[in-house]
Subunit: 337 residues, 2 copies
């Protein structure tokens, strides 16, 4: 054996031994996988590399913990939004529940169409009369009373396909991303088109996100003193702020006051939040959850009425943002699987 | 010496010895005073007793850390608001700075009166034309540009009486209360009539309060994409939300989503926040800082145009809320003393 061959053999033997050691079992010093529900692949690798880069004190991309802000859309990004937004299902149920108090509705075409599930009539009427009904049925009570209604509904309502409480239909791989970011010093926020009061009752348990880190659409609320002298906050039918599309960076500015380092969305309603995140200097993570798994969840994108992903998908592809395939990137979708 | 007299003597000697021990030096087990700038007295005792009650796991008034929310007004509660609100001084300076770009102002009566400091003319004109000028001078730029203007101004501007940067005119005893509450698991928030962007640049350093825990008045902000394709948030002259008076409990609902366990204010603009806090069940702390120290700071209450304290003082007295005398309760007012 020549000297050169001997060196090559030694190198090979060493590599083989080290390889074996890894296959045989994790080394004691090896940390457990923070994203066990993710298949190995480019999406997972990019999340891990991003967090590694911004937390490495000796690296050029280090970001101090105070500036580690991550924002997450909710519907379709953290939980299921099909066949209709969960909050819309709730608000429609509120219309039914409020009907006895509104005898005048029996001649209201929008109410009649809703009650009869007459989709043709609804399409003909357009959004406006339905939104007006929703506004009336979901206002005029104290925020405490509304909060109780939401909690009660979430206890009893079931998803039409999965036959489970909606709060069980959260995405396990995204729960892992949330926990992983927080373990690395990030502050995690919901930035959703849904309204804050609908998410706060369950966001802490489902996502580890406390009430004040839930940014969303704002319904009118008015301070009043009741006849008993006790102050209450009453809901009004007005919508004060729509936290969707171009409203998301505005909501982030109003409620967080810092540009996100990482943003997660799934639809065109998240495009401006992703653009605003990308416009910051240094390393940024822009991630889109692509619903391409009709078997385990739903498959929809460019033509969907709920959670349309069209322009944001083009921009993600053009700019090299991370597009997650639920089918290929996720081992599990829901925690109960 | 009779037996009775002997017992009395022993008791006295014991009390004297214990007293001496305390005077001679703190016992090893004694924690340092968390509120060293407060004189001993009922105000300090009530703050300490409240925190003790809600953090004592074995007590009936225990509150779990997630629900320990404390809200603080800013102007006049955490820093000096006389002779005019600091933000108003800044905004007036912005009118001067913007004048060269607004030649049309030279015939504007409000601008002329402001420039000439003509208080009689200003009083005659009323608030509206001045507010319009302020709105124009403080909008039409990106939020980043405005942020830089605020930071630059805070560096150079000096208080007319104390001849110091405004950010040095924060109240030391209140900084101690903030730190003490946080050390006991509280989340501390500013809830101010001032606008969020004016407080966020310095609130973390001055009070330990991060940007997302600053609740305040909201000025219009619009998402736009510049000619270079870069998204920016532009300021508009519209005021979206006024976080003062009855707006404070609404701001708390929108931005925090929990009822405060403790609230701190100094004027009638804080009354509804204090009422809303008091309306919760269990132990609550409602505290008013009363400006009664003309020598070290300012003395004002029922008749003041800035920070009027009238109805809230009546209610504090009627309901037994804590009213702090700056003169008697505070050893120090400012950190530089």
């Amino acid at each position: 054996m020549e000297a050169y061959a001997w060196t090559a053999f030694l190198r090979l033997a060493l590599a083989y031994t080290l390889g074996l050691a890894c296959v045989a079992g994790p080394a004691l010093a090896q940390a457990p996988d923070p994203l066990p529900s993710w298949n190995d692949g480019p999406s997972k690798a990019r999340i891990l590399a991003f967090v590694q880069a911004v937390t490495d004190k000796s690296g050029k991309d280090f970001v101090k913990p105070d500036d580690r802000v991550a924002t997450f859309d909710n519907d379709g990004t953290l939980w299921c939004e099909q066949p209709i937004y969960v909050q819309l299902a709730f608000m429609l149920d509120q219309v039914k529940a409020a009907a006895p108090k509104h005898p005048e509705w029996k001649d209201n075409p929008a109410f009649k169409a809703l009650a009869a599930r007459d989709h043709a009539a609804l399409a003909k009427l357009g959004h406006k009369p339905v939104l007006e009904l929703l506004a009336v049925a979901n206002s005029g009570m104290s925020v405490a009373a509304y909060d109780k209604t939401i909690r009660d509904w979430l206890e009893t309502a079931r998803h039409p396909r999965f036959k489970r409480p909606y709060t069980e239909l959260v995405y396990k791989p995204m729960q892992e991303v949330l926990a992983y970011l927080r373990a690395n010093g990030f502050k995690t926020y919901i930035v959703s088109g849904g309204s804050v009061e609908f998410m706060r009752p369950w966001a802490e348990k489902a996502y580890g996100i406390p009430p004040d880190q839930v940014i969303g659409t704002i319904t009118g609320v008015k301070f009043q003193t009741g006849r008993d002298g006790v102050p209450v906050l009453m809901r009004t039918p007005k919508i004060d702020f729509v936290d969707d599309g171009p409203g998301k960076p505005v909501g982030i500015y109003r409620g967080i006051g810092q540009r996100p380092l990482a943003a997660f969305g799934n639809s065109d309603g998240d495009l401006q939040m992703l653009q605003f995140t990308a416009a910051g200097s240094g390393p940024r993570l822009m991630l889109i959850v692509h619903h391409d798994d009709a078997e385990r969840e739903y498959a929809y994108d460019r033509k969907s009425r709920i959670g349309r992903l069209d322009k944001a998908l083009d921009e993600a592809n053009a700019k090299g943002w991370t597009v997650v395939s639920m089918k290929n990137d996720w081992k599990k979708i829901f925690p109960f699987e």
